[in-house]
């Protein structure tokens, strides 16, 4: 190999560039986000379902709600405890969770998901900006 030197330098530079982000951020894992509950949400103690369930499945529940309201015309959700809720993102979910930036956005930013719910479903009327 006549240009061995060049090849080795090339490999070293390549490895340095590729591993740079990992080395640079080593030991600095972003902390899991802390969500803040509004007073109203705290007072309610439990959301529509258990906290654990909501953390995992809230997007599925919203999808189910949308389908049931729009397609089947049924608007009341009865949870396993027998409590009734109006299936509405704007009027039920965002009524309690009126702090979008401290509640919704923190997790969504952390997980790098960009749901476009709020494009149309405007955050709660009571929220003052």
């Amino acid at each position: 190999m006549s240009n061995r030197k060049g090849v080795i330098i090339g490999i070293v530079v390549f490895l340095a560039v590729v591993t740079f982000p990992f080395l640079y951020n080593r030991g600095k894992a972003a902390p899991a986000p802390e969500v803040e509950l509004t007073e109203k949400a705290k007072a309610a103690k439990q959301c529509v379902r258990s906290t654990d369930y909501m953390q995992r499945e809230h997007m599925k529940i919203l999808d189910l709600w949308r389908h049931t309201v729009v397609r089947r015309g049924e608007r009341i959700y009865v949870n396993p405890q027998g409590k009734e809720f109006n299936m509405s993102l704007s009027n039920t979910c965002l009524d309690c969770h009126s702090n979008k930036t401290e509640f919704c956005d923190r997790c969504h930013d952390y997980a790098s998901v960009r749901p476009y719910c709020w494009d149309c479903h405007i955050d709660n009327p009571k929220e003052s900006k």
């Binding site: 015309g73 049924e74 608007r75 959700y77 009865v78 396993p80 704007s90 476009y116 494009d119 149309c120």
Partner: protein, 264 residues
Amino acid sequence: MDSSRRQILKFFGISTLAMSTKPLLDAFAADPAAEGAESKETFLAGPEALKARQWAMVIDTREFHSLEDVEPLIEACHSIHNVPNLPIRRHEIKWIWETEYKHAFPMKGARFMAEELEHRPFLVLCNHCENPSCCRACPTQATFKRESDGIVLMDFHRCIGCRFCMAACPYGARSFNFRDPRPFIAETNKKFPTRAKGVVEKCNFCAERLAVGRLPACVEASEGKVTFGDLYDPDSPVRERIKTNYTIRRKQSLGTEPSIYYIV
């Protein structure tokens, strides 16, 4: 004890039987457990919800003489549904609007008509047809005929903006959001969602109001000039109006079976 051929066969036979019953027993045993705290959820229509097989509307056009008579109805609808007021005509969004007889009922006009009838404002909106051509054209089933009450609805989440439904609708009842409508909404009703750029929208027969036991906004604002009810209930107010008056429908010959009736 020697295991004879007969005994071995018996043993296998009984084992097979036992194994075949196992899943059955499991199913019985598991049923109450599976319906545990995390999966039991039900949906209700709500106690005040108005129900019908096919909602229909009768518009008594004899009561509408000028633009001032129809504007409160249009305004009532457009303000609660966040319908934008776009200045450019070809970007216009409308759920309910007024037009002249010759546009509302092409091929039904006479020559030398009464001037009053010729220039009377006719309210037009989505006809919530019984055979909606728009729903057949929609490739994503974003627009569909709701089985429970016959309303032709839009699921904005699913709409991809192909505008096939607009081409299919013989009444021009659908509008397309060519641009973000939000800056053009005078006052946003936060109880109702706005729409995004790139979706089609139209009248929803106030499905959200019927669900809580209220009549559509235009009917409420009309002070009795517009009647609303179940077309298949012989005692409903719309049936009464249709029975006692001569009514016409828009482009009836196309076979879409529109549910908006006009008394002329």
